[in-house]
Symmetry: none
Subunit: 539 residues, 2 copies
């Protein structure tokens, strides 16, 4: 039997950080990823250095099928992680190699397949409507078939803890069927999330001792113990832990990848990430939240913006003397910051590092660095976020260094008119008055919505004067309403992220304003300014 | 020595549910309670049946001093809980009865006092700048003085776990000073929140065994384990557990009272609340969030609105057969509901269950169910999503059953004008033409953005004719751009979710359109239609 091994895991195979943000995490109410979103999330997780990325259920969901196809076509160049396809065992009383769902797992070309199987006899009888013999055969056949085709196979034993408590023989028999047929890891799943840590530790320890199998853990947060349960399982012998970024998942969610990693590294001393990656924890957490379009939880352990923020007067002075006495870890270790109301980006060091990415030597210009830091903080207090908008940040930093190129145009005014007429049609029309290449230009265009109309009018005005404009395409547009303080509903601040591409580069810009159209305008202007800057630099 | 006992604890004194929402929980960034707020929160917690309510630090904070004064004057008629004043031991090298801070604790007239003391030798030396002998004397003197005055005294041993690991003798000596002087409970505090459950269980078990004292637990959530740590401590022998409502607190927060209670009752079988009170858990959680002015966490274990929400098509049909197989508890036990999310994967079963939530018997109308399912699927294919918009789904289902109430108004047309003028100001103005109560009404209003202006103009037009309109408030507004197929950037479909409230109900509606303003308009119209439906139903 041949086996592919996880792509380049630098830490070897001894411990698996297994991420299922894109499959189980996508069950969270309100999340719906595009294929492009999934590719971005996968790249972020790979950059963090997780060992496995469960990308979805190919064959069951069209988005997932396309994700695996594009990954196989080379769009996902994973450095650390192995890509995993999730699926089910063959149906009862069929052959594994004839089951279209099983074939779709093979067709996905993912080197690893995780199969879900029922291990609670009640579920086997009530939901599968079959008996334990056939359930075990379904597992054995499917694992053997996929392993025989060169896939590495893991088994998710659904409802394992309830099943083991109810009928341990059945639960162990399902694990045994998988391991004997060639599954590398049997993952004990607390599917309904009802477990507590001491119980998890007992059961995991017992299963490891009784079977000798490599055991994994998958926890849900229904008792608010998913992170604790995962850690307790590792302490009891599990060497594979399944999590989702920010704990996204069905109901109360899954075990949150970031505190699980934080705890494994800083509390248990396990090197589960490549060197240096732990400091990316906060950034990756916030970037995934941005893509999922879910406001980050400011009180999230390790990575929340308040995770190391101290308000208590009782502590404030003592913290100055010795912060280590009051923080359980040095916040910098996970890329976070101790100060209150300082942002995701904050900190001279991270801004300097960021400048370095843009080829800017901010260390040599401490006054410009200080001024840029003040400006970033002041803007973030008003709802801006540069976390996912590098291009806007680069423009800001270059302006502080007086290196910002001449803006490609200047605005005099714009007007947008939206008409919902009696016959039900909705028309958006925008007029812009701009100065470009020494001329005043007025242009009007229609669009599907106000921002589209504005973009179209601006392009019409500028196109004759900016030869590169045609190359620039708007590839994504995200909107987030920021409720600050007493502001309610539509009376809040709007943050717009615009992603642009010229088929060579992709860049993201941000705009913030009480008016969504003006926020979009600001982000559009930055997008063009960034392209103009690069055009100027190469001329 | 006389002792007051906790006021009317129906469950006796064997186990303490101790709430510190109003003291430690108030350290959360963004929370600032008025005295009236504190009284309301205390009444809610008392209604739930907690044993102790720590009301604040009298003498240290004016709001807290007034809170205790008004409680003592009879404004807080507690049925179950004893009121607790929190404070510090006397300062080094002073007398307890002369310390103004200690006297303020007496003056508060609270029957119970919880004293905080350092139990980590490093903190004693670095922060208190004294030695262990004096630190122990500070504890002993202050406890003895307050106990002698008839108060029941608990000791919060700050940074206990780190202190015990660093120098167990000092840590135990502080506990001993308190217990010997008359403290009833010594509370082991994981002040910086760095502990994990198995370690907590070991230490608590060891301290109970070595001292024989009554031990309490106070956990912070910095490892995302506060609830788990609290439960592990109880399993190891702690009989007093300190929590805050919704886990509010400094940094990552405190142990969340609601999942802690949920776990104690439903997992450990401990009767820690009066009969019937557990079903109030969800209501009390949301009411406290309302007073704290913090949006409830929809994914909170036990009490979150998504805590029992199922999305996976995999499960939906099986849930119908036996919900107990998929939920760790019956949601009704904690006053929550099982919600089924309607998604891309929706089937007849989940739509039927959903209708049942609205009081609609779709099973009896199979043709209407089939037609509703086709309509939902067709709309979802165009970017609609009903999983977070129950009110819009209910309107759709009622329309299929011909049960939809007359719309409260009809639109003739609207126009929105956005002007970014030469001086940089941005103005949004909307005009609506509607038919309401047999009249044609035209109204114009300005707003901070296009949707706000449209909402304002619509309200201006309708207010004279719809007496209930003033009650309806827009509480949240979410925007998501849906990229479908080849559609790119601003040329995509926009999905808007609007949350509304009339201070009795909250409901969410959805609108989808290529134009963001039209999408918002559709969601706003559904929001008013849903309210009108309920008004009509109760007339």
């Amino acid at each position: 039997m041949t086996r592919t091994t996880p792509a380049g895991t630098p830490l070897g195979d001894a411990f698996h950080v297994y991420d299922t943000t894109l499959r189980d995490g996508a069950q969270r109410e309100g999340i719906s990823y595009s294929v492009a979103d999934k590719l971005k999330v996968a790249r972020l997780l790979d950059g963090l250095g997780v060992g496995f990325i469960e990308g979805g259920w190919p064959g069951a969901l069209p988005t997932d099928t396309e994700f695996f196809a594009r990954a196989a076509a080379g769009e996902l160049d994973l450095k650390h992680a192995a890509l995993v396809a999730f699926g089910s065992t063959r149906r009862a009383n069929t052959k594994a190699h004839e089951d279209p769902q099983v074939r779709a797992l093979l067709d996905s070309q993912a080197p690893v397949v995780t199969l879900v199987a029922k291990s609670d006899r009640r579920h086997i009888e009530l939901a599968l409507r079959t008996d334990v013999d056939e359930a075990a055969a379904m597992v054995a056949d499917t694992v053997a078939f996929l392993a025989g085709e060169g896939r590495r196979v893991f088994l998710d034993a659904e409802h394992f803890f309830d099943g083991y408590a109810f009928d341990p023989d059945t639960a162990l028999r399902v694990l045994d069927a998988a391991a004997t047929a060639g599954a590398d890891v049997v993952v004990l799943c607390d599917t309904n999330g009802g477990q507590l840590p001491l119980g998890i530790a007992d059961t995991v320890g017992e299963v490891v001792a009784r079977t000798g199998f490599r055991v994994g853990i998958h926890c849900q947060d229904d008792t608010s113990c998913a992170v604790a349960n995962s850690i307790a399982a590792v302490q009891a012998g599990a060497t594979h832990v399944q999590c989702t970024a920010n704990g996204y998942g069905e109901r109360a969610g899954n075990a949150d990848l970031f505190p699980v990693i934080g705890n494994l590294v800083t509390k248990l001393g396990k090197d589960v990430l490549p060197t240096g990656a732990l400091a990316e924890l906060t950034r990756v957490s916030h970037a995934v939240a941005e893509i999922a379009n879910i406001a980050p939880d400011s009180h999230q352990a390790y990575v929340g913006s308040s995770a190391f923020a101290h308000k208590a007067g009782l502590h404030a002075s003592a913290i100055k003397v010795d912060p280590e006495l009051y923080n359980h870890i040095d916040p910098g270790v996970v890329g976070n910051d101790m100060r209150v109301l300082v942002t995701e980006m904050a900190g001279r060091a991270s801004l300097e590092l960021k400048g370095h990415e843009f080829g800017l030597d901010l260390a040599a210009r401490p006054e410009a660095l200080g001024s840029a830091l003040r400006r970033v903080k002041e803007m973030e207090a008003r709802g801006w976020s540069f976390e996912a908008a590098d291009a806007s940040l680069e423009l800001l930093l270059r302006a502080e260094l007086d290196e910002r190129a001449q803006a490609p145009f200047s605005l005099e005014s714009y007007r947008v008119i939206l008409d919902h007429s009696m016959d039900g049609t909705v028309v958006s029309e925008a007029t812009v008055k701009v100065h470009v290449a020494g001329q005043r230009v007025i242009a009007t265009a229609e669009g599907t919505g106000p921002v589209h109309a504005l973009d179209a009018a601006l392009r019409r005005a500028l196109a004759p004067h900016l030869p590169w404009l045609d190359e620039v395409e708007l590839t994504d547009y995200k909107v987030r309403i920021i409720n600050r303080g007493a502001a309610h509903g539509t009376d809040a601040v709007t943050r717009v992220l615009v992603e642009s591409s010229d088929h060579e580069h992709e860049w993201t810009t941000v705009g913030v304003h009480g008016n969504i159209v003006e926020a979009s305008w600001l982000a559009l202007c930055d997008a063009l300014a960034h392209k103009a800057m690069r055009v100027t630099a190469t001329v």
